[in-house]
Subunit: 135 residues, 2 copies
Amino acid sequence: MDTENIIKLSQAVCAALTDEDDGLKRDILAHTGNRWSLGVIHILGIAGQLRHAEIARRLKGVTQRMLTHTLRHLERDGLIERYDYQEKLPRVEYALTAQGQELLVNMFPLWTWILDHAETFRAARAKFDDAGKAI
Amino acid sequence: MDTENIIKLSQAVCAALTDEDDGLKRDILAHTGNRWSLGVIHILGIAGQLRHAEIARRLKGVTQRMLTHTLRHLERDGLIERYDYQEKLPRVEYALTAQGQELLVNMFPLWTWILDHAETFRAARAKFDDAGKAI
DNA sequence: CAGTATCCTTGCGGATACTG
DNA sequence: CAGTATCCGCAAGGATACTG
């Protein structure tokens, strides 16, 4: 897409976007910014339904505490569902809800765009930091 | 979109997504989750180019400190550009870069989807909290 | 006007130990 | 196995005062 079109498109987009529900919007988007949520959603999107320990195994570096915490938050926002089988040795599985799947689908353009421009971002940061403005 | 299709689509999406660059991806997405970034981007998308004080006026509740901080971070990631006119009474203006405009465009589906489902999210939370699971 | 400089509170993310 | 319960360091976010 050329620059001309991006400018026009972004202006059209801005006009269409509203600032209502600013809190909620950020709350939902916060899932995409914090440490483990996106990984969980991605993994569940691929595997379908997994137990706590299975997710922990596939998510390198996550602690039990943070995984539980992340799962609770995703569950609270209706993005995943928790299935407790009430067995004596606990078995609990998690899966994306329809909402969670829609989040993934709607996040696709943004996600791929970021990955496609990884080098650009790194270059921008390097330039900024080299200019002595590092934060 | 019906449920059948969402499931298929989300699986296709998951397959297409990669987990590379997890840190960078989250760093960029963090802009969408934190308190003021999205507001700044939206305002600049509409207004084109604005001074520090102008942004502060339109962004209800932001403090000078946090606005400066937010602007630095957005600048570091190449999403906005800073124009310092070097005048005796300081005049500095900010505008979206091409990258920043692309971010907006690529975030459009996600943003509108969240706003369209605001009620669903609120209902999910209420149900969760009422079940006594509140975090 | 556009920032720094301080100080403060809150919550994130993590390490470790324990329980039904 | 799937969590709680603590304790901890650190950064986000904020209030207020000051500066070139």
